[in-house]
Subunit: 155 residues, 2 copies
DNA sequence: GGTGACTTACTCGGATACGGCGTGTCCGAGTACTGCAGG
DNA sequence: CCTGCAGTACTCGGACACGCCGTATCCGAGTAAGTCACC
């Protein structure tokens, strides 16, 4: 199990936007330049964030990306799921019903114990991410860095 | 992020072995037949479990796999990490130190806030799996199924 | 009948191909600014 | 000077290749049981 590279980029970009004044807009060129990322590829992930409703995109000059909602209302989980998808990392294929075992349906009314455990673990993971809004991530950065970020966003 | 198929197979196989008497041995043929899994491919994952010290393998007739320790001492986390690897799903590439940002090292003495969050989430996930020994998974199965499993293992 | 070695069949282990998804990139559609000509 | 328009440059969005890891499989090395000949 490995999270996509894009998850890290997305979290950083959203955190950066959360440091600016409300409504701050940054183009993908600006965002990529700040972190030294390949602009074309970063665009792909930003697109996903737009589709998921985390960011709002505007075209033309003065266009770019801005947070779709106040940073206090955007959770880290939303950002992660925008890139990685909302489905659980574990998918039970019900192998207990196959092969020589062939557990009959009446023994399978309750979900597989292994599936239950894995879903609980997945829920714990997501819950931790849900508890943290991006505003908190932004607040956790060093003060001088925040100042430079705001300056950069203002161009 | 998606867990390997082998994780599910490994958990089921270890759980099955945990239902037998202590020291119960089952060949990969037996295990694959029980769940209707491709024997050759399952073997690859069982091998990983041996390398990780979860299972013990014996060669020749009457050979096969058995639990390396009592099922109460084997956690679900161990099984998962045997297949999936022990490293966290999130790896921080320190992009904050790249690009126009170029946060100087003195601002990076503390770990990246995003990395901290992701590692905490990962720890929560692993902790949930660590809390459950495979004996508990075995105990959670329906009684008739457990009986048939023991019968199957005894051949 | 007991014992020894041999045969045999069964087991695991490493090395080897294939395919799907993440990675990486490009060009086209749309928009707001800017400059200019006309009134 | 004000107004309208056309040009332009900048933005995002979707469609298109490449590479790596999970998927899937095979054959060879090793071992213990079973068998048979011999004592």
């Amino acid at each position: 199990m490995k999270l996509s590279q894009g998850v890290e980029w997305a979290l950083h970009c959203v955190t950066l936007l959360a440091q600016g004044d409300p409504g701050t807009v940054a183009s993908r060129h600006t965002l990529a330049g700040w972190y030294g990322l390949p602009e074309a590829y970063l665009a792909k992930h930003l697109k996903s964030l737009v589709r998921a409703g985390v960011l709002h995109a505007g075209s033309g000059p003065r266009g770019g990306f801005r947070l779709a909602r106040p940073p206090e209302e955007i959770t880290a989980l939303e950002v992660v799921e925008s890139i990685d998808g909302p489905s659980s990392a574990f998918v039970c294929t019900e192998i207990r019903q196959n092969g020589a075992c062939a557990a009959p349906p009446e023994e399978c009314v309750r979900r597989c114990a292994i599936d239950r455990l894995m879903q609980e673990a997945d829920a714990a993971w997501r819950e931790r991410l849900r508890r943290t809004p991006v505003s908190e991530l932004a607040a956790g950065l060093p003060a001088p860095l925040r100042g430079r970020a705001r300056e950069w966003l203002a161009r």
